[in-house]
Assembly symmetry: C3
């Protein structure tokens, strides 16, 4: 699939090569849970699948221009890190574990979040923001990554996701 | 779609206007992760989509009459709150951050959890509880929101979800 | 459905009795979020549904032979436990809450994680590991549960999931 510019008025019914559609809801704002949605979206686009990401709740961290370049990984409360909570709660531990994870990701030549969004946008992936979350956080389109096509309601989301495989992350 | 009473013996194969079916699994018990399932279910019902919510594990907090009106938001461990863990771990911080989030939600005229369940139930949404979780927590139907149609097994869930779009929250 | 050995060269297009396919992504490494995926996979297999689990990010804890038998439950940060964070952060609390949850699970005759994977594998369930996560964690097939059929890319995952109902846990 070649990268294409998104059309000025994006349609919910893009034709694509495969007839498949994938809708991913990104609801988390941490570094470790931002990547799965972007990696899956990128892979889907490579397979010619019509791909949408709907950012909601904490997922706004991924498309808020003030935060998207600086997502954090909090090890505390995550037993998979095998670190005592008493240690992970010390000052500076979030900065340290975030730095370590960013290095692990960079070592695999996986782009940082803003560059990853650029890549998905350039590949024809559709990015949407949740109206209710925007209203809760008092954010407008001016606060969001420029590739976001619109702030849409949950009802719009339902129409968008017709016929799609769906993932809530 | 007009609000309707649920039928006395709910069927897994409701006819509906759209031929679409959505099954949402609610597995979290925090205030911030209770709302996405309810908001999406409500939007789906408004679109005439057959909608089921299956509450499992911590999601029982949402339908347990002892807890449903008092869900908490824990900011600690969530980097999207941009607060140091050392601060978020202080006594009273969960109460404070919960109070702030409830106000944000109320300001948007979004109902509290029990009223939201009433709305979904009245709109024909189906609410189910997980048998294994009920057994683990030693809860029976008497402990649950009256709109819950039954405590069903994972096998029942598989039959229920045939042909549905699925979300695990 | 009777338990069967998996075929030597697993196919992405297994015929099955129902025409249904389920793909579950397990991305969490905690005891409480490991079980939902395994319970649903097991129920799906019992219904004759072609079932795949794709382990990614923290989900590797479930198939890493060094960790799979010793998953932890961290109560801190989870308001559904109704314990103050100040208490849950004390040394030994993760060990205690893990022990309590393991007992609750054992009391229901639900197998431990390794035995549960054996059961799913023997029933014809397909287990896959994520290439990117393996590379991040510097793990190879030698580190993983022997029933894992392969370490596959996100692109492979997209092909695998064609026509499937999908859940991200």
């Amino acid at each position: 699939m070649t990268a294409t510019d998104t059309v000025p008025v994006p349609s919910f019914d893009d034709a694509d090569e495969t007839g498949r559609k994938l809708v991913i809801i990104c609801s988390k704002g941490s570094l470790d849970m931002a990547y799965p949605g972007l990696v899956l979206a990128n892979a889907a686009l490579g397979e010619g699948i019509e791909t949408h990401i709907f950012f909601t709740f904490w997922g706004f961290e991924i498309i808020n221009t003030k935060t998207m370049g600086d997502l954090k990984f909090v090890a505390m409360g995550n037993p998979a890190t095998h670190m005592p909570n008493a240690v992970m709660g010390l000052p500076g531990m979030t900065a340290l574990s975030t730095k370590m994870m960013r290095k692990q990701i960079a070592d695999l030549d996986i782009p940082e979040i803003p560059e990853f969004l650029d890549l998905i946008h350039a590949s024809g992936g559709h990015l949407w923001a949740c109206r209710m979350s925007a209203d809760m956080m008092k954010l407008t389109e001016d606060d969001l990554y420029e590739g976001v096509e619109g702030i849409i309601s949950a009802t719009d989301f339902m129409e968008l996701s017709e016929g799609a495989q769906t993932l809530f992350i």
